[in-house]
């Protein structure tokens, strides 16, 4: 890491000193490996993060996020705020101004009409736009002149940086996509595979789920960038193979999401061909407690619904004891190494919203046992606790993933020590996260007592994320199990806080509210037992300069600044 910072320092210096001499395309080809290959280059029809990241090389929005989570201008001249008048005082309007003289890669000018078109494209009925949430709450978009975009919201929007901000909502070229509205969107294969953009690169060839070949955009706004003339973005394999290709064989310059076990990280880093870069965002691996009864003996349609509270986990003391028995540092050491750190919070970042709750970080086995005794669960003859003839037995499910299986084994060991019998279950990730209402194994159905997975929120504002725990977002048969309140947590006081936050604009106050809600879910009720704050871990070759890992936007956010270290 020290070497990396030194390189970055050097990069910053040279960027300042030699920007005038740098030449576009002087550094030849750069090889990037995404082990999950991109399947489409239009983020509005994407089927995953990989597509959004790959298309961020080509398409850009008004603004993006930097590695600190600050909003930075891309196509916009500057960031509109209340102070500079870009955002109206009542928070119902935001005005973006495009940089002058911007060109698409085909040489035509970028205008405000393109932004307006993009909004219409994503909100057209039957289009199935994957990023529709970014354009929610917009009443209208006005284009008073070719450079200005005025967005009017239906209600005050404390966080107006959603539409056209970040890799998930870039601006499309109206001329190219004009025939692809609504139901026609998926049929425009040529456009979806080769969008015309303003980013540093443009597509020359795209093989679905295999490889994207890109060339430097001749009309990119900074004439000296990008330093690379071409880029190859290859997909396939797994995280370990990807790390190996950068760190051991040196075939590739950059590999995305090389989440491998800490020992392999150390061993590969010793290879000396590259370094691992990491950064922390909001992704938290957690154990979710089921507040409702998943007993298979219940009739179908009543399992894991609010009709039946959980016979064991409804008691907050039991939940707390289960959390206290976990040694989070050990989990990090075994599973993530430098790419993780223990946390007790559901919202671990940004600083403004992160609670100072650290009470869970030290394991307290004795305290946990005492709590269970207090709750009336006494150790039985076979070492398993029981209460009123009922055994303390939990079914613990998660998706298939080597790290998660190690976590399961470790947590099972600790809970066994408490006198809790644990049955483990693993479900194929495509089923677990698929949300198919016909399958009993989805994480929404939650036919288990506890389950483990990771979740995060988009951008830097946790409001929609915390609003997932509203009473009316509980999944159940009546909404085809599509709610986001996985734990079936329900507290009127919490609902009131969510409402309050939606009407609060003052940042400090929002932070306070977010912390309060975070604490209600974690340290007050132990409904969500946060385990590990998971960072992003990618591998970069020593010969690739300018890499800055960004966890708030796409990882390829600054590919225009990459260069070859000579």
């Amino acid at each position: 890491m020290i070497l990396r910072s030194a390189l970055l320092g050097a990069a910053a210096v040279s960027a300042l000193a030699s920007a005038a001499f740098a030449e576009r395309g002087a550094d030849g080809n750069v090889n990037v490996l995404y082990w999950q290959a991109p399947s489409i280059l239009n983020p509005y029809l994407s089927s995953g993060t990989k597509d959004v990241e790959a298309s961020s090389l080509i398409l850009e929005g008004m603004a993006g996020f930097n590695e600190k989570g600050e909003v930075i201008p891309r196509l916009a001249e500057s960031i509109p705020t209340v102070e500079n008048g870009g955002v109206s005082a009542d928070l119902t309007q935001i005005t973006w101004k495009l940089k002058p003289g911007l060109l698409w890669s085909d040489g035509t000018p970028v205008t405000s009409a393109d932004a307006k078109f993009t909004y219409e494209y994503c909100t057209a009925p039957d289009g199935g736009c994957a990023q529709a949430a970014r354009y929610e709450g917009i009443k209208s978009i006005e284009t008073p002149d070719a450079q200005t975009v005025v967005i009017t919201f239906e209600a005050p929007k404390p966080n107006p940086y959603q539409a056209f901000v970040g890799g998930t909502s870039p601006i499309l070229q109206a001329a190219q996509f004009k025939d692809c509205m609504g139901a026609k969107a998926p049929e425009c294969t040529k456009q979806n595979f080769g969008p015309i953009g303003t980013g540093p690169f443009m597509v020359t060839d795209f093989k679905v789920n295999d490889v994207v070949t890109l060339a430097a955009n001749p009309n990119y706004r900074d004439p000296a960038k990008p330093a690379f003339a071409t880029m190859t973005l290859k997909g396939g394999g797994d995280a370990q193979a990807a790390a190996r290709a950068v760190m051991e064989t040196g075939e590739f310059d950059y590999a995305w999401n090389t989440q491998i076990n800490p020992e392999m990280q150390t061993q590969m880093a010793a290879g000396g061909k590259g370094v691992f870069v990491n950064g922390f965002g909001t992704l938290v691996e957690r154990i979710e407690m089921n507040m409702t009864d998943p007993d298979p003996a219940l009739p179908e349609g009543e399992r894991s619904t609010t009709k039946h509270p959980h016979p064991i986990l409804s008691d907050a003391k039991v939940r707390q004891a289960l959390s206290m028995a976990i040694d989070r540092q050990t989990l990090v050491d075994v599973g993530y190494g430098t790419a993780g750190r223990p946390t007790c919070n559901l919202v671990p970042a940004p600083e403004l919203y992160a609670s100072d709750n650290t009470g869970c970080l030290t394991q307290d086995m004795e305290g946990a046992k005492k709590l269970l005794d207090e709750a009336g669960w006494k150790v039985g003859a076979d070492g398993i606790r029981e209460k009123d003839g009922k055994k303390l037995k939990l079914l613990y499910q998660t998706s298939v993933n080597p790290v998660r299986q190690d976590f399961q084994a470790l947590v099972k060991g600790w809970w066994n020590e408490l006198g809790v019998e644990v049955e483990l279950k693993q479900v194929d990730a495509s089923v677990f996260f698929g949300g198919d209402p016909g399958s009993p194994d989805t994480f929404q159905k939650f036919y288990a007592d506890v389950e483990m997975y990771a979740n995060n929120f988009d951008g830097t504002d946790p409001e929609p994320y915390l609003a997932q725990y509203l009473c009316d977002k509980i999944p159940g048969p009546e909404n085809q199990w599509q709610g986001e309140n996985i734990n079936r947590f329900c507290d009127p006081a919490y609902d009131a806080l969510v409402k309050e936050m939606a009407a609060t604009a003052d940042l400090a106050k929002r932070g306070e509210l977010a912390k309060k809600m975070n604490d209600m879910l974690t340290k007050d009720s132990f409904t969500v037992v946060a385990l590990v704050d998971r960072g992003r871990l990618s591998a970069a070759s020593n010969t690739l300069g300018g890499v800055v890992l960004n966890t708030w936007d796409t990882e390829l956010w600054n590919a225009q600044d990459w260069y070859r270290v000579k």
Partner: protein, 306 residues
């Protein structure tokens, strides 16, 4: 052979087979190795009483005991969570051997039966072979997912989670791997049933059932043997893939295939993690293969006479 001392009775066919089998060095060696493996997984745990899924709840001790090389405490070392590899190999082998054998037998029985019927009875040939084509064409993964979804809970509640999972896995592997055997057997039956001895048997009025059992079966047995040996390896590996996909045994339940799968990640750092399970699988397959060779020679009267 017990009453051989009194009068010399004509040696039974099976005694003949056994003596021929014993003279086959490879087969005897295979039998010996396989018995060792079986003893290792079934008797071993009685001597080596370590829980294969035990993870030290004391985090500091757990961290200390991870990825140990072989020592006296852990003759095969420990894995990434400090679990004893010897105990894991034993309990994993029990599952793998059982799954491998039962699934193989199941797929051989289905395969040979379908093959014999299709090859022998012309009327059945079309329907049965089209059925085989269909099974060959079905995508394995969705098929298994559907099987698991439909039957897992039902079986688990009636037989208990472990027996239910075992039965389901064995059935799933058996049901999806009989087609090669069926096609091979059918191909050979088609040729054999036109041979002179079958025609002769038919012409003197031997019933079809007897023709199949006495005249045709012995002539296809060698191919079935090959399919069976390859089938054991296939079943053990398929089980590991199933577990890996979350369709098999619970995640902390070791099997040889799974140990090998997990070990691949650690191959460069701790080669022993892949060497032991890999060796165990290969030894099983090799010994079954030699036993198969010996059995075939012993069952073939032409060779037995030599």
């Amino acid at each position: 052979m017990t009453d051989a001392a009194t009068i010399q009775p004509p040696r039974s066919q099976w005694a003949d087979v056994w003596s021929q089998f014993r003279s086959h060095k490879g087969a005897m060696l295979g039998l010996f190795v396989l018995s060792l493996l079986v003893a290792f997984v079934f008797i071993g745990p009685l001597i080596w009483r370590v829980d294969p899924t035990y993870v030290n709840p004391d985090a500091a001790k757990m961290i200390m005991s991870r990825n140990k090389p072989p020592t006296l405490d852990h003759p095969l070392g420990t894995d990434q969570l400090g679990r004893d590899m010897l105990a894991r190999m034993m309990s994993g082998g029990r599952v793998s051997l059982a799954v491998g054998t039962v699934a193989m037998v199941l797929s051989m029985v289905i395969g040979s039966f379908v093959g014999l019927m299709a090859g022998f009875y012309r009327r059945l040939d079309g329907p049965l072979m089209r059925l085989t084509d269909m099974f060959l064409a079905l995508p394995l993964l969705p098929l298994l997912l559907v099987l698991m979804m439909l039957f897992r809970d039902a079986l688990a509640s009636s037989l208990g989670p472990e027996a239910g999972t075992f039965l389901l896995i064995v059935m799933a592997i058996g049901v999806t791997s009989w087609m090669h055997a069926a096609r091979i057997v059918r191909g050979q039956v088609l040729a054999i049933k036109e041979r002179e001895f079958v025609l002769a048997a038919r012409s003197i009025g031997v019933p079809s059932r007897r023709i199949i059992l006495r005249h045709i079966m012995p002539n296809v047995i060698s191919s079935v043997m090959v399919a069976a040996t390859l089938g054991i390896a296939g079943a053990i590996i398929t089980e590991s893939v199933l577990s890996f996909l979350g369709l098999g045994f619970p995640p902390d339940f070791p099997t040889w295939g799974r140990l090998l799968y997990d070990g691949v990640e650690y191959m460069q750092l701790y080669p022993s993690r892949v060497v032991f399970p890999g060796l165990a699988i290969s030894l099983t397959v090799l010994s079954v293969n030699y036993i198969g060779d010996g059995l075939r020679d012993a069952l073939d009267p032409r060779i037995r006479g030599r």
